[in-house]
């Protein structure tokens, strides 16, 4: 059995909107182990985004425990949470969130700016290495607007890798991309997963969820179903079978 990376116990999150209390998460228990590639699925309002926010240490639960790599985040201060995000988490967003007018390399370097004790040269080397992993090493000096959507998302993935996090959190990472490019991104993520990276991927598309090893389905703030994916898609195979189209 692999080491537990994320352990969530009796997690509750309430929002107070005026006098109405919204129970976004109702006593959720969840466990993610090293090497997992988990899809968190559900319709809008099911609580999956709230879950991701808490997993990403961007939001605090109302009650319950969340242990990330053995650290109980409920006991940490704001600044300690920031440090935790910096050291242990990597984020990939639906809209890439790259800094405009900033080269790919500098975008990838960004998390390292907030880490302590990293020299400029090491920063540069590690960012280059991460770009190599996503296959964009030769485009390091390109600005985001000179890159396609898929390439931008690759830069974002490189950015999430650069600080060598224990888990990568992806929020609808293929939501803005066409099918082929989505598959290419999934191919990259599957490859990273096969190298041992733990990935939590929030999506509402069942097709995309089939690239992962495990699916957790939320509804009304509860986990309603948890399945191991048996007929897993292999992205590389699927891309081969796609009809040939003009490359951009």
């Amino acid at each position: 059995m692999n080491k537990t990376i994320i352990k969530v116990e009796q997690l509750r999150k309430d929002y107070y909107i005026g006098e109405v209390t919204v129970h976004a998460l109702k006593r959720v228990d969840m466990e993610i182990r090293e090497g997992d590639f988990v899809a968190i699925m559900g319709a809008s309002g099911s609580g999956k985004s709230t879950m991701l926010n808490i997993l990403g240490c961007l939001d605090k639960p109302t009650s319950g425990d969340y242990l990330l790599d053995g650290v109980n985040m409920g006991t940490l201060t704001k600044n300690q949470l920031a440090a935790l995000r910096n050291n242990k988490l990597g984020f990939i967003f639906q809209s890439y969130n790259l800094l405009p007018r900033t080269t790919a390399l500098e975008n990838v370097e960004l998390p390292l700016f907030y880490s302590t004790g990293i020299k400029p040269r090491e920063r540069r080397e590690r960012a280059m290495e991460a770009l190599k992993k996503v296959g964009l090493a030769e485009r390091f000096h390109h600005m985001p607007n000179q890159l396609s959507g898929g390439q931008q998302q690759r830069v974002a993935i490189a950015r999430s890798l650069v600080n060598n996090p224990v888990v990568i959190l992806a929020d609808e990472a293929t939501g803005n991309l066409d099918t082929r490019t989505s598959f290419e991104i999934m191919e990259l993520l599957q490859e990273l997963n096969s190298q041992g990276k733990t990935i939590v991927f929030v999506t509402h598309e069942p097709d995309i969820a089939r690239f992962m090893t495990r699916n957790i389905i939320f509804r009304d703030g509860r986990i309603v179903k948890e399945t191991e994916v048996t007929d897993r898609f292999d992205a590389r195979e699927l891309i081969k079978n796609l009809p040939v189209q003009d490359e951009d």
Partner: protein
């Protein structure tokens, strides 16, 4: 916190928005430039007034007869005969703060030579006069003690008189002119001095021994004015006080009596005129200061816009590990860099303005170090003050809201 990193981040952020950065700085550039420009122009004009006035004489002090009462009737100043040669003698003997004293009497009239004539005035004085009034001889010599004592009919002419009577550039020394029908032998010519700050031609004059003017022209025994030089500009006030004490004693005025003479100094004149230009400088400086303030508000404005526009960037920075403090410092550094860089360019612009103005208006080019130091301080303060609020707003953003901000 790692400040080098934060500074790098802030510089990168500014570099990404060069055009906007320049526009933002423009307010500060113009503000600082005009503050420095205006203050230097003010200071330059003050200095030029000062130079012109001190060109009139060296630390000059005038003593004029004051108003007198005769049986309750106030008599005008000019009719007063309260100053005499005895006063001068006494001043020469007792004063410590005066380096030179001369009586001054003058008579206006027509000067005639050959078929030319010209209206001018003849000033009678002693041999110290040139030193006190900063005149110099171009040619010839000053009259002697002997000539003063003997009421000699000799004179020294100014350039204007010489030019009009004898033609431009002619050497009049040795010639004879008639003034109020009395022939005078010219023994010297004065160097050109030009107009004074009131627009009077200082070269339209004839200088003669005061005894000659007093007795032969005016037929008086009193003197119209005493001119003197204080030993230094700083000692002017002591010199005035001293003159007053000596003259009151000499004129046997009782305590409580009004002075029957008036003492004015060049320093006072400088002060009066400088205070006018000081006020102008202040006015100009205040207007420029307002434009600097507007520039500062411009920075705040842009920083606010920039915080809103970059909400997602801020969210992202927080998500990848930036703390509130990091964000705050980043935005603060951006604001300070904008204002300080703008300030530096503004200072250069200010130099340019003052240099051009100094040349156009023929002022001395004055560089005011205090103005530069002040505007630099003001700039940094503006950066911090107007940058703080938007920076705090950025730092207090909720990362979840920030990153999903559309």
């Amino acid at each position: 916190m790692n400040y080098t990193n934060t500074i790098k981040i802030a510089t990168n952020a500014l570099k990404r928005n060069k055009f906007r950065a320049v526009l933002t700085m423009l307010g500060i550039i113009i503000g600082v430039g005009s503050v420095i420009g205006m203050l230097s122009i003010g200071e330059g004009s003050k200095k030029s007034i000062r130079e012109q006035i001190s060109g009139m004489g060296s630390n000059m002090i005038f003593v004029m007869p004051g108003s007198q009462q005769r049986g309750g009737v106030m008599m005008g100043n000019s009719s007063a005969k309260s100053l005499t040669l005895n006063d001068i003698e006494r001043l020469e003997k007792e004063s410590q703060y005066l380096s030179a004293i001369s009586p001054q009497v003058s008579s206006s009239g027509q000067v005639v030579a050959g078929n030319k004539n010209w209206p001018t005035s003849m000033t009678g004085a002693n041999d110290k006069f040139l030193e006190i009034r900063k005149y110099e001889l171009k040619d010839g010599r000053m009259f002697t003690e002997n000539e003063i004592n003997s009421l000699a009919k000799v004179c020294i002419v100014g350039k204007t008189v010489s030019d009009t009577i004898f033609g431009k550039g002619a050497d009049p020394v040795g010639q004879t002119i008639r003034f109020s029908n009395i022939p005078f032998k010219i023994i010297g010519i004065l160097k050109e001095k030009g107009q004074n700050s009131m627009g009077q031609d200082q070269d339209n004059m004839i200088l003669a021994p005061y005894t000659t003017v007093q007795r032969r022209l005016l037929a008086i025994t009193h003197i119209q004015t005493i001119v003197a030089s204080a030993v230094s500009e700083e000692k002017s006030e002591q010199a005035i006080a001293e003159i007053k004490t000596i003259l009151r004693k000499q004129h046997k005025l009782k305590e409580g009596d009004d002075d029957d003479f008036t003492v004015r100094s060049q320093a006072e004149l400088i002060q009066t005129l400088s205070s006018v230009s000081d006020m102008l400088t202040m006015l100009l400086g205040a207007i420029a200061g307002i434009s600097l303030l507007v520039g500062g508000i411009g920075i705040m404005n842009i920083m606010f816009v920039s915080v809103t526009e970059r909400t997602r960037e801020i969210g992202l920075r927080m998500a990848v590990g930036g703390r509130g403090m990091d964000i705050l410092v980043q935005f603060l550094i951006e604001a300070v860099m904008l204002s300080v860089l703008g300030g530096i360019i503004g200072i250069l612009l200010g130099f340019l303005i003052s240099y051009v103005a100094a040349n156009l208006l023929s002022f001395p080019f004055v560089v005011m170090t205090q103005a530069i130091a002040l505007s630099f301080l003001v700039c940094s303060a503006i950066g911090i003050f107007f940058g703080w609020y938007p920076a705090r707003k950025a730092a207090n953003l909720n990362p979840i809201d920030a990153i999903r901000y559309e």
